[in-house]
Amino acid sequence: MSKTIKNAFDHGKAFIAFITAGDPDLESTKRFILEMERAGADLIEIGIPFSDPIAEGIVIQEADIRALKAGTTTDRIFDMVAELRKETDMPLAFMGYLNPVFYYGYDRFFSRCRDVGVSGVIIPDLPYEEKGECSKVAASYGVDVVSLVAPTSKERIRTIASEAEGFLYVVSSMGVTGMRSEITTDIASMMHEIREASDVPAAIGFGINTPEQAAEMARLADGVIVGSAIVKIAAQYGAEAAPHIYEYVKKMKDAIRGL
């Protein structure tokens, strides 16, 4: 039995790493994931590339395009994860847009998630109001549909948090994913709202890329999520990126240890 999302929060503050599947190829993605686990990542979000990722900044947009050009498909990603499972039982989640999941068929998609041990999905274009159409199917296969809250959520935070599954993804900033020099949102008050409504773990993502930011955010929540900074290393070094990704993830994880 593979570990679930909840297990990712068993050992103090969680470091959650995102990587786009298939950039530059799926064999490399598998290697990157194993290196990130070795470097201390507690949960990996495997990005299913989409032709039109409207919540992503330029770094992940370009990774999606490279991955699709390289022939990455939903089926091949499942095959890669099945292979990966021979080498690790670490918690895994998918992050991707609704259409590839919808088109694959909710039943087929979530049953394959269960089969390969992916215990959650994060779908940025599936808000609370629309979640109902797939969360029941996902639940029947033991897969969590992770909810997001944003700086604009205000009074919605409590409603969303009260029904959160797995963990709650706290969007740190307005706009799209990508590295930011400064996070100006009042995260502390968002966290206060969340804690009032739910005891599900909360992790902060969007914009985090330095160890200092990671530590600052980890003090406020149960974990931090880093995507673009890792994807950028994969873009820079391609198939040779593994040691660079290892080093970066280790540095980031070390910054939040013991907080």
Binding site: D125, E130, G132, R156, G175
Partner: protein, 397 residues
Amino acid sequence: MQTESRGRFGAFGGQYVPETLMNELIRLEESYEYYKNDPEFNAELTRLLNDYAGRPSLLYHAERMSQDLGGAQVYLKREDLNHTGAHKINNCLGQVLLAKKMGKTRVIAETGAGQHGVATATVAALMDMECEIFMGKEDTERQRLNVYRMELLGAKVHAVTSGTQVLKDAVNETMREWAGRVHDTHYVLGSVMGPHPFPTIVRDFQAVISKEARAQFLEATGELPDAVLACVGGGSNAMGMFYHFIGDEGVQLIGCEAAGRGIETGQHAATMATGTVGVFHGMKSYFCQNEYGQISPVYSISAGLDYPGIGPEHAYLRDSGRAQYVPVTDEEAVEAFEYLARTEGIICAIESAHALAHAMKIAPKMGKDQSILVCLSGRGDKDVAAIAKYRGIDLSE
């Protein structure tokens, strides 16, 4: 947990957007629901539509064309005579006025060929709003005149270099921009698409087309048309043209979509003919996509129809059998474009020529006592160079 969200047309529609935008969409819906029943708002909008945009637009009996085709009488609803040359201004006046009432100081919009961008920039100038337009880089090169037109009107035009650099990418980029700045900014979506409440808002602002046309047609002929035709990309002029005829069971509603170089070539934007149900740009509807749900690149000679999806209410009208949708190729549209110019002295938009082409196909098979009403959604000045190029003539200096 509710299982069916708001803003549905049967199974289609919905609000598939990042959480960051949800409160803004809710606020937009609440504001719209208030102002659409506000007599002051409606009086102001009507005044703008009439005194500024030149409404009501004419209903014109194309007698020479009807005679030449030898069948049904063809009538044209002349949206091409509106200020800025297309139906797009109807929606822009409504949405920018609404945005102003909501306290917004800045509007953003996507544009394909540039018609919606020009209309948005025009109304933004009129209402003293900051305006930024997102346009695929490829489209900015194909439609340089419209880029300059928008700049003349005081708008900032961003050439979108992400993805395939056309209309769908412009929509992506405008949504990203909006998610980064909602407090002072309204996204003036240009078609009956996107997340709820946009498909409803845009339809309502465009419904003035059929409200006028139905009354004008009754006045002119004493009866209703047998068929109402309009071109569809996202579907705003078609939805506006169909809306007040939906209850008239005897009136056939036909949307004409872009078949590009032919359905069989794969180079087209015929969403209804070839698309499948999916979720994209905030809505559940029909889309051109591959077997993994990746959105397909589409093609049409008409930049305004060059979109891989269609508004959710059209998906519903099709599946419920109330409307039908037919593909029209580049070649057929260009022939119709030239035909209307020679026969009636009207140079129409290449988009509208798709609807006209279908009218030319069906009119000869109908009786002389029958009638077809076509929405001439825009004028064709913008297309002259592209048509010349299609015919092998290079107009550039």
